[in-house]
Symmetry: D3
Subunit: 253 residues, 6 copies
Amino acid sequence: MRVDGRAFNEMRKVEMVLDYIKTAEGSVYISVGDTRVICTATVEDKVPPFMRGTGKGWVTAEYAMLPRATQTRTIRESSKGKVGGRTMEIQRLIGRALRSVVDLEQLGERTLWMDCDVIQADGGTRTASITGAFVAMVDALYKMVKAGTLPRLPVKDFLAATSVGIVGTQPCLDLCYEEDSSAHVDMNVVMTGSGKYVEVQGTGEEAPFTPEELHSLLDLAKLGTQQLIAYQREVLGEAAALIGGNAVENTTD
Amino acid sequence: MRVDGRAFNEMRKVEMVLDYIKTAEGSVYISVGDTRVICTATVEDKVPPFMRGTGKGWVTAEYAMLPRATQTRTIRESSKGKVGGRTMEIQRLIGRALRSVVDLEQLGERTLWMDCDVIQADGGTRTASITGAFVAMVDALYKMVKAGTLPRLPVKDFLAATSVGIVGTQPCLDLCYEEDSSAHVDMNVVMTGSGKYVEVQGTGEEAPFTPEELHSLLDLAKLGTQQLIAYQREVLGEAAALIGGNAVENTTD
Amino acid sequence: MRVDGRAFNEMRKVEMVLDYIKTAEGSVYISVGDTRVICTATVEDKVPPFMRGTGKGWVTAEYAMLPRATQTRTIRESSKGKVGGRTMEIQRLIGRALRSVVDLEQLGERTLWMDCDVIQADGGTRTASITGAFVAMVDALYKMVKAGTLPRLPVKDFLAATSVGIVGTQPCLDLCYEEDSSAHVDMNVVMTGSGKYVEVQGTGEEAPFTPEELHSLLDLAKLGTQQLIAYQREVLGEAAALIGGNAVENTTD
Amino acid sequence: MRVDGRAFNEMRKVEMVLDYIKTAEGSVYISVGDTRVICTATVEDKVPPFMRGTGKGWVTAEYAMLPRATQTRTIRESSKGKVGGRTMEIQRLIGRALRSVVDLEQLGERTLWMDCDVIQADGGTRTASITGAFVAMVDALYKMVKAGTLPRLPVKDFLAATSVGIVGTQPCLDLCYEEDSSAHVDMNVVMTGSGKYVEVQGTGEEAPFTPEELHSLLDLAKLGTQQLIAYQREVLGEAAALIGGNAVENTTD
Amino acid sequence: MRVDGRAFNEMRKVEMVLDYIKTAEGSVYISVGDTRVICTATVEDKVPPFMRGTGKGWVTAEYAMLPRATQTRTIRESSKGKVGGRTMEIQRLIGRALRSVVDLEQLGERTLWMDCDVIQADGGTRTASITGAFVAMVDALYKMVKAGTLPRLPVKDFLAATSVGIVGTQPCLDLCYEEDSSAHVDMNVVMTGSGKYVEVQGTGEEAPFTPEELHSLLDLAKLGTQQLIAYQREVLGEAAALIGGNAVENTTD
Amino acid sequence: MRVDGRAFNEMRKVEMVLDYIKTAEGSVYISVGDTRVICTATVEDKVPPFMRGTGKGWVTAEYAMLPRATQTRTIRESSKGKVGGRTMEIQRLIGRALRSVVDLEQLGERTLWMDCDVIQADGGTRTASITGAFVAMVDALYKMVKAGTLPRLPVKDFLAATSVGIVGTQPCLDLCYEEDSSAHVDMNVVMTGSGKYVEVQGTGEEAPFTPEELHSLLDLAKLGTQQLIAYQREVLGEAAALIGGNAVENTTD
């Protein structure tokens, strides 16, 4: 029995609210248990210097936590004057994960800025950010398709992420903060709708893990990400039908 | 007739949700029209160096906007590596305003960190922050009173803020972003429940203003802040009764 | 009786030395009591990005204090690696105030950089900076008029600033540092030659103030700024006659 | 056939020179093909604030590249004034990996600072750094054991790292820079002498990968890390015998 | 004939005003031709960490230029967020030079902060700073002697600095900015009252120089520094008599 | 007798390895006693803004030490977020020294970036850096001559540097760290092959020095730099023959 009464292979309650922020091109509010994140998408009509002239677009992410997202107040990175290592690692992960399912050529020379701001943290903020940012990104791109700016949705597959870990000796799905703090092995897995891996990041700082343990964790991650993708499909509505290369025209057949 | 159909002396719709963030000692979500701010209070059991040994407490504020609170994305101050002048000016204003109604001796050697994070901006973010932060602060202090940590609520009066300005030639109450952008005169007023001024910050960069115009604006500000204080009273419930020096014991008489 | 023997409505001794710095396009040394500031004007033939192509000019200000302008040494902001909140607030105020009396269209696509460096501080450094910077700015612009670079002086009105405050229960004009430290209410007022307000910044952190107190303070501020403008008129000599839209040609009539 | 003529499961030439830097407590020069890294160990008799009073030690790492380690000059992070995201991610990885095999209680309240400075880069700099830093760390700790400062070597197991990836459709071991640039899947694996995983970091930004591909890569990684550990054993000489909990006394039996 | 009509071995006009800044413990305004510098001394009753417990004091210097000290405006180092290499080099030089004539043991565990702020620059700002800072330092220390805080003046000798250089083929004394810009060889020399060298910093970036040229320059530097020391002696009045170890008591014999 | 047994006029053992770093256009590893430096040259086909359009090139240098180059670990400047004063002073010195022997017109609009990274420090790191960087620079330029990119080697003379100082009362050549720490006078001298001075930087912070002592030190410096230049000539081989304006064609006569 886990600290919050869940079974080892049970996710926390998930909620997603589309178009949560009026000022953004795409947005979603996602909660996974007590972890709550605001994800927004910004579309910019240019790309970073290293992509110019390639005809391809780019997806980048920024991640932050409000100071009181945590049990004790965290000093703002703007006050410290620099972005910390953990933050950079997470935003590089989110950007990389999202790019893996975007057809950058179809996107054209545009940059998608994905902002993930954690307003309350209870473990799994990076995976909730990826799962939510995917929805906010599709939201923004779908509006461009409807407006005729894009001929088709440049999204190749669904994408969701979850954390898994070994608590005591038990592999568990979707760790809350208390579990995460005491886990010996901690792994974040990003998977596509077709069941492929985009990111596998497992660390056994407290205790190196065996190949068998690795397999158990990967199985749990698959279970969790597939459930998250089902939620995404629901909240995205008709936009969901265009993922994977279906053109707008075809969906009306 | 104003851009959003309001009368010149009419405020936008106000909403406040108490205890919006579970991880913080006090918190409120405040919306004033489309301006939405999350305010949290953190209680720290020590004071900054310049206050040590005085027996008095301190109240300080930090203010920030999510990148997509605005119509076009604003670069994070953490990415720029420094806090901008506008942000510093606003957080100094919020801190000063809140301190004016706190009895720092009764607070004791503690620091209240008030965080105001704008998640959507449509004008008046600093005044909404002050109005909301006051509620979050009372929320946190009232819990300390109830827990016996503080003998009485160290809050001397209510406090609320609004913006006023001259749009065209018409003095108006509670400017939205579109009005604010075109106003010739822009003024932020912070007032107490007893109708005294805590801050009067008027600027006529576009057009210097006459003493008569100043008076019209101050009258509107009084109207607006008194309405906001009525909302605060409502959302604070029984904590409201302790503001102004009433001890907990007395309220049960 | 005040700490330095002045009446409540009496300013400190004021001195202004025009063209104090040979290397600058315009400059003045101003002392108000023991507060001493060097103000210089720099003319740059381009504007910041947000003004490009508008045909209009810009005025911006920077403010600093030498480390030993104060009774105890203040660490340089260059050593700290960042400009503090108080400094930013002051330089934003100076820039805004000066812009209110400059005809930015007549200035053309040029930037005026106004530097105010306090070499000795005894209260009222920001208001002395505004009063001095106005003179240095007119000095630089008048030279451009004389050189034929500008057809007329793009300055609409005189501009001066003073501080007022409530010391004990007495509203007083032009606070020195000792008074400022103990004042309950502190207000900086920037006014034009025609008696309009450009900035009204009053703060009652120590004690909120009533509408009546506000009026007394504003009356004192008017008295002080009009005296300062008389000094400015004197030191500026023939340039003074061109303020408010009089063309050079007319002055020779 | 690979770009440099190796078989898919063949590592590049490895060289390690112990005690390469006289001024450091422990040091090694490691080359893996044309990737060359100087690793040093510093022993400090205190721990970071979050570890104080726990009786346990800490291991932390810093990683950098000389400007001309790369084919085109890279700007120094000291000149940019901040440490980049990639650098932070790598030094967090190195530190975490090393801590997994150190008995922090036996180490006592000391910090090991592991510096990994890449003097020439040709792919796999982070994995070469981990492999080399392990040797430099054991070097420093072994000297402490010999000097009687530590009763036994607080190192639980060997540790080495390698990169693997899918180049074209071929899983390959130990990618050089040219291969790494064109790989669809890129994975860094850190393993112990007993064949357990410490870190598995696989990313399929270019192309998500299947469970089967994951297994092939993990097999190659095991092959490579075991060869590296054989080299470590050789260069460490008698210190190698103390890894895994053997006391100094026992080795002389 | 030089650009400003001086002979090759002639210094510019020198002026020194003692106690120029009321708020500082010691201060001087020095002008050497059109180069004008405000030098202040601050006495702090503690020393930097590396000197603690040694019983000795420390002397450190900071140097800056106002933005319009120069013909074109120089961006503030506080705005750039870092102190430049030239500034650091100069302040290290000033501190080192002053320390060479201070008896740090007699000073006791105190730090002298010497601030040199150039308000107008026309070449030789670093040497004018050293010459002026010496006077401001003696000014502050002499007050401590008179107040009984120090038993005797902890200053071993006079100290002054000048620049020399080869303009065309002519060695010249005390270069102004125009000469400095075109000089092939540029040398700053700091000397004591007894004619010893404290700093010799010659650079022939434009044209390496011969031993004979070096000697001519050193001769000119001696001439200039001895004249500057005569000025210092005059402005320091009775404090001058205590330099070199004479106790206060003795001077009244 | 000196601390390491050398005579007062004896240099430490010198070693230079050309082309030490494959990735750089020119490189050398230099050791002078236990001081070891990696010097690389980068050729960039543009110049800094202040040189654009002049037809001339530029030479700039960066200097750093690995954290464990020193007996106790030095914090990385990238971690501190700024480059220290000592580092800036040294890299300005190296750049200036190298430029003095380069014909910047013949170089054309190119920048040479010279990186000097100290991997082990035992005194004299800046002079070893200059001596080594000269070789790495010639190495890179000679390759450009051989490739036909440059018509002739734009190097006017040899260049080497050494430190001298007064240890006790004895002037000594090439101080090691232990001597340097206790020297009363410390001087760095950069000289050309033809025996001219490029930089003379002597400081007598501990004890001002006489003209006679200055001459003794300069004589020792000449002895040392001429020996270093003999080494440079040897390691540079045929490139050495082109220094001083000899064209490639001529060398085959």
